[in-house]
Amino acid sequence: MPKLDLKTAGPFIALVAIFIIGVLVNDAFLSSGNLSNILARSSFIGIVAIGATFVITAGGIDLSVGSMAAFISGCMILLMNALMDSIDSMVVIIILAVIASLGIGAVAGLINGLLTTKAKIEAFIVTLGTMGIYRSLVTYMADGGTLSLNFTIGDIYSEVYYGVFLGLPYPVWVFIAVAVIGYVLLNMTVFGRHCFAVGSNESVARYSAIHVDRVKTATYMLQGVCVSIATIIYVPRLGSASGQTGILWELEAIAAVIIGGTVLKGGYGRIGGTVVGALILTLIGNILNLTDAVSNYLNGAVQGIIVIVAVYLQRGAWRRD
């Protein structure tokens, strides 16, 4: 069935095409430094987008991820700075911060999930609300400025972002790991099937003895944990957090998911597509940086066009069958 192939392969073909454009535009594009930079940068959005794939597949939406990332960054930095006085081992401090980060992410997701399922408020409204709350909290925590990580810790922690294993930066390995786990979870487990079913038709899911509320809440928690993983590898990059951290991440994550072929109305999701979508978005930014033909300021416009075209192609494929 060529139709199905096109649909699965579409995002991948686009990725290859954009890659070729990159090669043609600038020789520096193919340098190992640039390539590993692209991969590392796409890791943040990619990891967040993998969480978003679950939420969207199950028929939800989470707009709060960017603010959540900023808030978790802020919490981690404050916690690590505070622990400096009482704990000697920097590694222990970092591990504690990582654990706290995962906890905050999970709880934040749980709150989004419970508000949508138990309080029965639309996901769009709930996460629009929490988006504002987290953004404002981090600005308040930073007193309107920037929270900076203590230098001594920052030095050690920066290894997480800059360290390299088998030629690839650590964030890329984390991205790969999250993607593989996400793939298995979505495609090979009962939970994954239930996500598809809930997103496809909640009523059918309920009459199939699926715990609809639990599945939906779990997707938001998964999203929260993904945000916290992305944050864990993002904090050492800059060593700071402010009201500007993670801005528009939610849109980039959703864009990556949609470009990858996941259906926004739910019921169908693809982890592989999401990974490709995240790579496409980062590649575009990177190529615009390397060329003078199009201003770098138009990055958002190009991304926007890509999203619209991707959805248009998706719809066409839906219509045909």
Binding site: M188, T189, V190, R193, S200, N201, V204, I210
Partner: protein
């Protein structure tokens, strides 16, 4: 409409062919619909009835052949540009099986939708309301023209559709399975209406799977089989057996299988006591025994589905009285369907498309959704899933062009078999099935009845909710009848008679009122109506 305004039309098709892409689905039909006749169209699912009525009403173009319309016995006019709008202007109106009403608008607004009475600038709401009331009066309906449609019962919605057809001055009225969603009583009201339309010279096309209805009201019967015309016959020349035989193309073994008798001392597997539905004052109690089919009869909206869904934890019971549920003597309180499934209870919903199957998902995906926990540990064992699916296709005789199609592309009967396969894969011992044969052709119907008999033979217990009284009587050991959200009685033995059931279903009789003792003692008969 006064007698003088009669305009009798004759709509006919000659050598009608219809193809979808390369596939021809109608192979040369010749049918004439005359004013003042009720023309029944009969055929199994997939025989081409729906396609035919869509062509007649201008929703689908024909591929080749002629459509002819003659007015008042005049010359037949060849219809070339036949779309839905033209059809309705010519008085050819189709009432869809799934209604075409704007749920949020009022009855009057719906009746005149797309056909509004306008003043100079704005809609003339008063005139529309008055006129709507007139139409409803003619139908002897008590529906309030100001009520919003979403609050109406199914039968009332259908009434609105008919009033809408009147507003369009229908001369050819096509009813696609109008009684599928009606109770027998409501159907009779509809038949009276049809009779009045007939006397008024309207040509009526009536599609139904219910042969006794066709026998009752049809003047002419056209039978289709696999898109071919078997023939058009005067209704007086065909018996129900003839109809079934011509439709299926082979002799049907008896529709209802021989049901195994219920042993006297059969263990009670499900006992529901004093369960109160929200908004009701009386609670309901009943018992189901091993190897029994307990029928649930009643009018649409009498609370049969609500009662079962409450038992299963799909709906909440009234706060005042949650009642008690015992499964094989053990107390149970199901908060969600999975706990009921854990106790070996499965529920087949009546809403096949809305709650039963994921129409845009594959067949195997749908099949395993209710029993996935049995096919997986950490990961889903896709091999055992595939094997189970293959087996189910065979056991339930699910027919499809290609295993990779989505559930929405299966015919209604095969969807129902897939749904049955889905819930039975969880290997329940107590099965609650709700309207298992609604909108299904007679061949598949008979198959489903035989599946039910097999289940009973192998020791399963079954609750059968159905609005088809023949089906209820044909399959049930005992019949519980509901009226207005409460059980009005449980009938057994000689009481299992259509009229007796209707008396309970319409509130004329009730076991709690006359306190008539059951054949056994009222304790063991399983039914009592407790005061809340």
């Amino acid at each position: 409409m006064s007698e003088e305004e009669h305009n009798i039309v004759t709509l006919s098709v000659k050598n009608l062919h219809k193809s979808f892409g390369p596939v021809e689905v109608l192979h040369g039909l010749d049918i004439t619909l005359r004013g003042g006749e009720v023309h029944a169209i009969l055929g199994e699912n997939g025989a081409g009835k729906s396609t035919l009525v869509k062509i007649l009403s201008g929703f689908e173009p024909l591929s080749s052949g002629e459509l002819l319309l003659a007015k008042d016995g005049g010359e037949a006019e060849l219809l070339t540009e036949w779309d839905n709008e033209t059809a309705e202007r010519s008085g050819v109106v189709l009432i869809h099986q799934e209604f075409n009403l704007a749920e949020q608008l009022t009855v009057a607004e719906n009746i005149f939708l797309g056909n509004e009475i306008k003043g100079r600038l704005f809609l003339n709401k008063k005139a529309m309301k008055r006129k709507a009331q007139e139409y409803l009066d003619i139908l002897r309906s008590e529906i309030d023209p100001d009520a919003t449609v979403d609050r109406l019962a199914v039968s009332a919605k259908q009434m609105v559709e008919i009033a809408k057809a009147q507003a369009k001055n229908a001369r050819v009225l096509i009813l696609d399975e109008p009684t599928a969603v009606l109770t027998q009583q409501e159907s009779q009201v509809l038949f009276e209406l049809i009779e009045r339309f007939r006397q008024d010279g309207v040509a009526i096309v009536f599609i139904s799977h219910k042969l006794d209805e066709i026998e009752q009201i049809a003047d002419v019967i056209t039978i289709l089989r696999d898109g071919e015309m078997v023939g058009s016959y005067p209704a007086s020349k065909l018996s129900k057996d003839d109809m079934a035989r011509l439709m299926v193309g082979r002799e049907l073994s008896s529709l209802f299988p021989q049901m195994p008798a219920l042993p006297n001392e059969a263990e009670v597997v499900l006992k529901v006591s004093d369960l109160l539905l929200p908004g009701n004052s009386k609670s309901s109690s009943f018992e189901l025994r091993k190897g029994e089919v307990l029928g649930f009869s009643g009018l649409v909206g009498s609370g049969r589905t609500a009662l079962m869904e409450t038992v299963l934890g799909l709906r909440k019971a009234a706060k005042a009285n949650r009642g008690t549920i015992e499964v094989r003597g053990e107390r149970a309180n199901f908060k969600q369907l999975s706990s009921a499934r854990g106790k070996g209870i499965a529920y087949l919903t009546k809403d096949r498309k809305g709650s039963g199957l994921l129409l845009e998902k594959g067949l195997s995906f749908n099949f395993s959704l209710f029993s996935l926990h049995k096919m997986s540990r950490l990961l889903i064992d896709t091999r055992s899933e595939a094997i189970a699916f293959e087996k189910a296709i065979e056991t339930f005789d699910i027919r499809m062009k290609d295993k990779s199609i989505v559930a929405g592309n299966l015919s209604g009967g095969n969807q129902q078999k897939l749904l049955l396969a889905k819930i039975l894969e969880a290997q329940p011992s107590i099965i609650i099935i709700d309207e298992p044969t609604r909108g299904i052709d007679i061949g598949t119907k008979s198959q489903i009845y035989h599946f039910i008999a097999q289940l009973i033979e192998s020791g399963h217990s079954l609750i059968l909710i159905s609005s088809d009284i023949t089906e209820i009587i044909g399959l049930s050991h005992r019949v519980a009848v509901m009226y207005h959200g409460e059980l009005s009685g449980v009938l057994a033995g000689d009481e299992l008679d259509e009229h007796e059931i209707m008396r309970y279903a319409t509130g004329l009789k009730s076991k709690s009122q006359n306190n008539k003792p059951q054949k056994n003692e009222s304790e063991t008969s399983g039914i009592s109506n407790a005061q809340a």
